[in-house]
Symmetry: C2
DNA sequence: GTCTATATGCTGATAGAC
DNA sequence: GTCTATCAGCATATAGAC
């Protein structure tokens, strides 16, 4: 019975706009229009205005995005197979959606790192939780703790970088190359562990 | 005897502002103030306004940044040593400069990929030239063409992604992990070639 | 080429009726 | 909780004297 609430629509619309236009490139009017919510409602639900709304949107998107990691990797018994497959899925996704980023966190983080300290801190929290959860996931799949952390760091780094390059070049080549690189990294790490 | 021209000062100031505030986050007034040039001069030198000036700034910064690759890697006879050393240098740089990105291209590219088609095309040109020049460089250092291209793609991807993560987290850890990952990739690629 | 003054529209945010 | 009307300030861009 859950009719979509105004607050929820505002957050969803903000996520969408942040993914495509970034933080400075998105106006509160655009958000209120996209969410079909008047200005007054926006400032009722988010008295802190644009920064507070953007923080809520980043947190929501960050949680959803973090859950993708186990979702994409679970189907494969061998991680060496799972990693490049995940990058391939990401490449198909971004091409099919017209080269729009799946997640606003990387886009916004790069843009506001020096200009909006509070939002930067929110993005840092989100990324730190990805690292923590990813380390736990890889540990659960049999890797030692420090190997697991090294691997999730490399994977997140390669993924964010490849999104920027693929989006800009309008080519899946960087995402595929990143997937192969992380597969190589994993092989080397696991050989060492034996 | 070259006194700094107005046009040059405008481009330099724009590079600096794009690195820290991004494209949408930078106003032409900020630029004209930082360059000590009045509005009229800005529109005299760049009749196309903000987009034209930003394109010129990205191109200039892109060329300078591309020249860093040979500069950082030449000192090392072994590429396996050179790659992680270059990432370490980047990590020291970004920490010492207060976590400011060295290059505006990645930051701006992520932010405007969907909103500013002309600028996106400029960023794509720059990245494509990095890939081309990087491939030529690695080929010159003895790698086969496709190995060289795979390596520069992975390196640029890891570098851009690691900058975003390190800048946001205020930690050099992602840059160091990325350097180790690319070193592993190179080892695997060169072993295969033998 | 340089500079000031200004036009026009959009920004984030608020007041107050409903 | 919702919505309209409106604010003051800043955005990009231009006109025209020097």
């Amino acid at each position: 019975m859950s009719t979509t609430g105004t607050r929820e629509r505002l957050v969803t619309a903000t996520i969408e706009l942040l993914r495509t236009r970034g933080y400075s490139g998105t106006s509160v009017k655009q958000i209120s229009a996209a969410a079909n919510a008047p200005m007054g409602s926006l400032y009722h639900h988010f008295p802190g205005g644009k920064p507070e709304l953007a923080a809520a949107a980043l947190r929501d998107a960050g949680v959803a995005y973090g859950q993708l990691i186990p979702l994409l990797l679970d189907p494969y018994a061998d991680l060496r197979e799972a990693l490049p497959a995940a990058f391939t899925t990401a490449a198909e996704q971004i091409e099919q959606t017209g080269w729009i980023n799946m997640c606003p966190v990387g886009t916004v983080a790069g843009e506001i790192a020096d200009a909006e300290p509070e939002l930067r801190a929110v993005a840092a929290e989100i990324i730190a939780s990805w690292i923590e959860d990813g380390t736990a996931y890889f540990t659960g799949r049999g890797l030692p703790e420090d190997t697991a952390r090294e691997l999730i760091l490399g994977t997140l780094t390669a993924l964010e970088g490849a999104f920027v390059l693929s989006r800009t070049l309008r080519s899946t080549e960087p995402l595929h190359a990143a997937g192969r690189a992380m597969s190589a990294r994993l092989s080397q790490l696991t050989v060492r562990d034996r």
